[in-house]
């Protein structure tokens, strides 16, 4: 397998993983926007996390930022898979920022709220997977499509 083909496979996998994260973040955003996370009704630990003050930044649900981040990662990975060289330049810092954000959210759940939301853990898993894929990318420049 050539390096170029290996890179393409990684970008395709990253795009698929980003889609899974996007679906999860969309679901969480809808929950936050309908106000479902403010009351009891579902999993007790989930509403403890999603109903907390850490689940919003300036009144905006953190999950909405997640939607934006996963969509960006999906977009960059897709373009990179099709040989757009510059997409990789954007993909790596995007996933880096998502990784740092995920670390903070895991810290909040573990040490400040003492509760875990399974949807947030799924999101953390997808981000870690994306970070792993980016690390696995062979060094060097991508061949440009244009």
């Amino acid at each position: 397998m050539t390096v170029s083909r290996f890179r393409t496979i990684i970008y395709v996998v990253a795009a698929i993983v980003s889609l899974a994260g996007l679906a999860d973040a969309t679901y969480l955003s809808v929950q936050a926007l309908t106000g479902e996370t403010l009351g009891c009704g579902g999993s007790p630990d989930c509403f403890r996390v999603l109903g907390s003050s850490y689940a919003r930044i300036g009144g905006i649900p953190v999950a909405l930022f997640g939607v934006l981040a996963y969509f960006s990662a999906f977009t960059f990975a897709t373009f990179a898979a099709f040989g757009y060289g510059r997409a990789r330049t954007f993909l790596i810092p995007t996933i880096g920022a998502m990784f740092l954000g995920t670390l903070w959210l895991l810290y909040v759940q573990a040490f400040l709220l003492h509760a875990y939301c399974r949807y947030c853990l799924f999101s953390a898993a997808t981000t870690f997977l994306l970070a792993g894929l980016v690390i696995a990318l062979p060094p060097g420049r991508d061949r440009s499509a244009s």
């Binding site: 996007l22 809808v30 929950q31 309908t34 479902e36 009351g39 099709f82």
Partner: protein, 222 residues
């Protein structure tokens, strides 16, 4: 063609995300209906008198469907105390039991409150249950704790124990639960202000104050 394919894929995913998000939003939006005329507090069909605190002739009624083991209900109970002081004779509060199945001890707590109510101390037990929520929610001996709370608020303990297992207390909890189900309630706390449901987005101090003020203004105009 291949050059434009990523643009097509990304656009399709964006549309699918927005579309599915909107559909999910519509499906998940709670459809709690207003309390119908024949089920309001003044209606005769309400066979069992509800638990009311505050001025019986207050222009604004806040009716809450609550679960004693639900943490947001506990936070809301604290806020409700502030509201009652703030609005004084202009606000009366009604509590209805809506124990959720996800909470192991919620139904037993509702029975304890109803048993206290049979001795005229519903609100005292309501306050203790919410204040001590964190303790009894995790305790293995919930029943013993409820009995100790009954003793603290000066109830006849033998009667309290009997009433907790009584048909009367159980029927009251069930009646409230059925009333809530009929209104489409799924989560707690769910509030109604003058029979109109409070939007989930407004279930916060500012939102509730704004709804009460609007209800007061509406009453003063009529």
């Amino acid at each position: 063609m291949k050059r434009y394919l990523p643009f097509v894929i990304v656009t399709l995913v964006a549309l699918a995300t927005i579309g599915s998000g909107a559909m999910l939003y519509r499906a998940k939006r709670p459809h709690v209906s207003a309390i119908p005329e024949d089920k309001t507090l003044s209606a005769k069909s309400d066979a069992q008198s509800p638990h009311i605190r505050g001025n019986p002739d207050a222009p604004v009624t806040l009716e809450e469907y609550g679960d004693f083991q639900c943490p947001p209900c506990g936070m809301f109970a604290t806020f409700l105390g502030q509201l009652e002081k703030e609005y004084d004779s202009r606000l009366r509060v009604v509590f209805r039991n809506f124990p959720l199945k996800v909470h192991e001890h919620a139904r037993e707590a509702a029975l304890a409150a109803e048993a206290a109510g049979l001795q005229g101390r519903f609100w005292e037990m309501h306050d203790v249950l919410y204040r001590e929520q964190e303790t009894w929610s995790k305790a293995p001996n919930t029943r013993e704790l409820f009995e100790s709370y009954a003793g603290t608020i000066g109830l006849d303990l033998d009667k309290f124990k009997k009433d907790m297992d009584s048909e009367q207390a159980s029927a009251r909890v069930e009646a409230d639960r059925q009333r809530g189900d009929a209104l489409g309630i799924q989560t707690t706390p769910t509030m109604f202000i003058n029979n109109q449901p409070v939007d989930p987005k407004d279930r916060n101090p500012d939102g509730i104050r704004a709804e009460i003020n609007a209800a007061l203004q509406k009453k003063s105009q009529t």
